[in-house]
Amino acid sequence: MQVNLTLLVVVAALMGAGVYLLLERSLTRVLVGLVLISNGVNVMFLVASGRAGTSPIVGSSDPADMADPLPQALVLTAIVITLGTVAFLLAMAHRSWQLNGNDDVQDDVEDSAIRKLAIDDANSDSYDLSTSGQHEDDPVEEGA
């Protein structure tokens, strides 16, 4: 199977830029990243479907010259689904902005709890494992 190099470069560029944006904090940028990735995937579908050809209408040309219409139908479906996703994510970004004044993707609650644990660990000067309680002279850490 022969592959069109230009299209492959386009796919790589779209996906790379998309992944870069996806790692951002702002939900709008994440959204733009997802749009880029999805376009990259759609172009990739066209690459995977083989070479371009004549329009696949019976009688208009020799079947051997026709393009494969099935992947294009699949890409069309994927585009519609992505459109819905983008609309929904936009609404979420807007709602997040309404609620918080920004559209930053916020931390997992447990993640921040664990991070706080680690900070407490670093600040604590006692790793006393005894269950009998702390000694009188041990400093009581300010946690809560």
Partner: protein, 564 residues
């Protein structure tokens, strides 16, 4: 009989449209949605019998025989369809009892019922899909309705949890599309049966790439470690019935897809060892997460992740008994996990919270709830003679029969996970149901920062040990989040008090409505029925597993008799 096959997808979609049009008439809307789901239960039961007696039921939509979309109801698909139909019916009845019908001020339009119908259609379509692209579309259908249900009302907590859920799932969908493009480029078709026949001619590395791409996609959906980290944070924030149906069904659709992939397309693949490792880590790390939780909802979300490991274990063994055990375990787990989350919704309504810190003495105030929680919880832990025990024994026997050292390690890991699950639910039982409310209240008052004239010296009293960011009271450890919670409860105004305070000033809500307890009790009853029919059910899953191993019934019924 084959005319029935598309109905589990078509009926809920039509029902969704009708429900949307009738959003001003809640009673008619409820009648339609309940009617549709009840009809699907009947249809799925008929399909189950038909698939068991006459082999897989196949419909080619529009008669586009080799290139179009096929819907296939074989034994496995029909069983999944029946279980999911029963569970969704129970959840719908429960949410109607809860009054989630649009007159709630949280949602502007009555969108709960239509969205729920689309979710059901997506799940049914995923079970029936005979080609990969149809599977992709059904995943999108159920994911989209899950996005809407998860962020229902658009509160800050739900938007926060929903963002991660949506982004992770959209990304996994993109990966799925990449996999589809690769599969199409490699074999020129997306029909499962045709892929399965052509994939043998591919070079090994190409086949391996395709399998890895699809496997990673499905493992994200099924929440297999290490691709499971999105789940425990997103599920608990949704409304109780929504969490119940998510926890019960959505991850199982991923497991179902993995079963199809591993048995139909890539039997005897080199990736089974990798899957076994993933199953082991899913089980053990999931249950360790569950033990660390102090909120019942989060605890159950972690046990959900953990028990996905059992099913992956059965699939990865790739033996008949292993597959049979996995299928049995999926059917059992859908029922009890949903039942547990429904009961949890009842607890939240009765006691105002699901945080262990605030609960105590529920066995005294709500004995019925106690029974309803106890049975599925023990079932989850695998106490004999309940179905969880039977499923686990089936899987462990399959592991022993396989006999490789890795399978034996997994048998040990599975046993350990089972014991730790027992520990996790027993802890929940002891704290939320068994101890007296006074005890719970006193224990909470012991915590520092609760405002009850506690000084720093009090914080060093013998009952109270601080260690690595946790506060230990007696044998229970509380993290920083619980301390903040305790402070909030202690300083709280009327509505935010703990159970003891609410009992004392008589502000505990009235008895729970039967319309909510009924469906939850019904689902618990179904889980008991599964125990009683375990013999015939295991016979059925054995036959289903045999079909999966042989593959020829699937090929010949999908592609016609002339194929090899």
């Amino acid at each position: 009989m084959t005319a029935l096959v598309p109905l589990p997808v078509l009926l809920p979609l039509l029902g969704a449209g009708a429900a949307l049009m009738l959003s001003k008439r809640p009673r008619a809307q409820r009648a339609i949605t309940v009617g549709v789901l009840a009809a699907i239960v009947v249809i799925a039961a008929v399909l189950l019998v038909a698939a068991d007696q006459d082999g897989p039921q196949v419909v080619w939509l529009g008669e586009w025989k080799p290139i179009g979309i096929a819907l296939v109801a074989d034994r496995l698909a029909a069983l999944m369809l029946l279980v999911s139909a029963i569970v969704t019916l129970a959840v719908l009845l429960y949410s109607i009892g809860q009054g989630m019908t649009g007159d709630e001020s949280e949602t502007p339009v009555s969108i709960y019922h239509p969205t729920f119908m689309v979710l059901v259609a997506g799940v049914s379509n995923a079970f029936l899909a005979g080609d990969l692209f149809n599977l992709f579309v059904s995943f999108e259908m159920l994911l989209f309705s899950s996005y809407v249900l998860l962020t229902l009302g658009g509160t800050a907590a739900r938007i926060r949890a929903g963002t991660i859920y949506v982004v992770v799932n959209v990304l996994s969908s993109m990966l799925f599309l990449v996999a589809l493009a690769a599969v199409y480029a490699a074999v020129g078709t997306l029909n499962l049966a045709q892929i399965a026949q052509r994939v043998d001619d591919l070079p090994d590395h190409v086949a391996l790439t395709l399998q890895l791409l699809l496997l990673v996609t499905f493992c994200i959906k099924a929440a297999v470690f290490p691709l499971s980290l999105w789940l425990p944070d997103s599920y608990p924030t949704a409304p109780a019935p929504v969490t119940a149906v998510f926890a019960g069904l959505l991850t199982k659709v991923g497991v179902y897809a993995i079963i199809r992939l591993q048995t139909l397309i890539f039997p005897g693949s080199p990736l089974t060892d990798l899957l076994l490792w993933a199953a082991l880590l899913t089980m053990v790390i999931g249950i360790l997460g569950a033990i660390a939780q102090s909120d019942i909802k989060r605890m159950l979300s972690f046990t959900l992740v953990s028990h996905i490991g059992y099913m992956i274990f059965g699939v990865a063994l790739a033996t008949k008994t292993g597959l049979s055990g996995a299928i049995f375990y999926v059917a059992h787990h859908i029922t009890i996990q949903t039942a547990l989350f429904l009961v949890l919704g009842l607890i939240e309504r009765r006691a105002g919270s699901t945080a262990l810190l605030r609960l105590g003495g529920l066995a005294r105030f709500a004995p019925v709830l106690g029974v309803l929680f106890f049975i599925p919880a023990m079932n989850l832990a695998g106490i004999p003679p309940l179905s969880g025990f039977l499923g686990k024994v089936g899987l462990l026997q399959a592991g022993l029969a396989e006999g490789s050292w890795l399978a034996l390690v997994l048998v040990a890991g599975g046993t350990l996970t089972s014991l730790l699950t027992l520990y996790a639910v027993a802890k929940t039982w002891a704290l939320a149901f068994w101890r007296s409310p006074e005890q719970a209240h006193e224990m909470m008052k012991l915590l520092p920062g609760t405002g009850d004239a506690h000084t720093e010296e009090d914080a060093a009293t013998p009952q109270l040990v601080r260690h690595r960011g946790h506060v230990h009271v007696g044998s229970v450890a509380f993290g920083e989040r619980d301390l903040a919670e305790a402070k909030r409860v202690a300083d709280a105004d009327e509505p935010d008090r703990d159970l003891y305070q609410r009992v004392m000033d008589g502000s505990l809500p009235d008895r729970l409505p039967f319309s909510m307890v009924g469906p939850a009790a019904g689902l618990v009853l179904v889980s008991i029925v599964i125990t009683f029919v375990a013999g015939p059910l295991f016979g059925f899953t054995d036959r289903a597993a045999e079909d999966l191993m042989e593959r020829t019934p699937y090929f010949s019924s999908v592609l016609g008799e002339d194929t090899p």
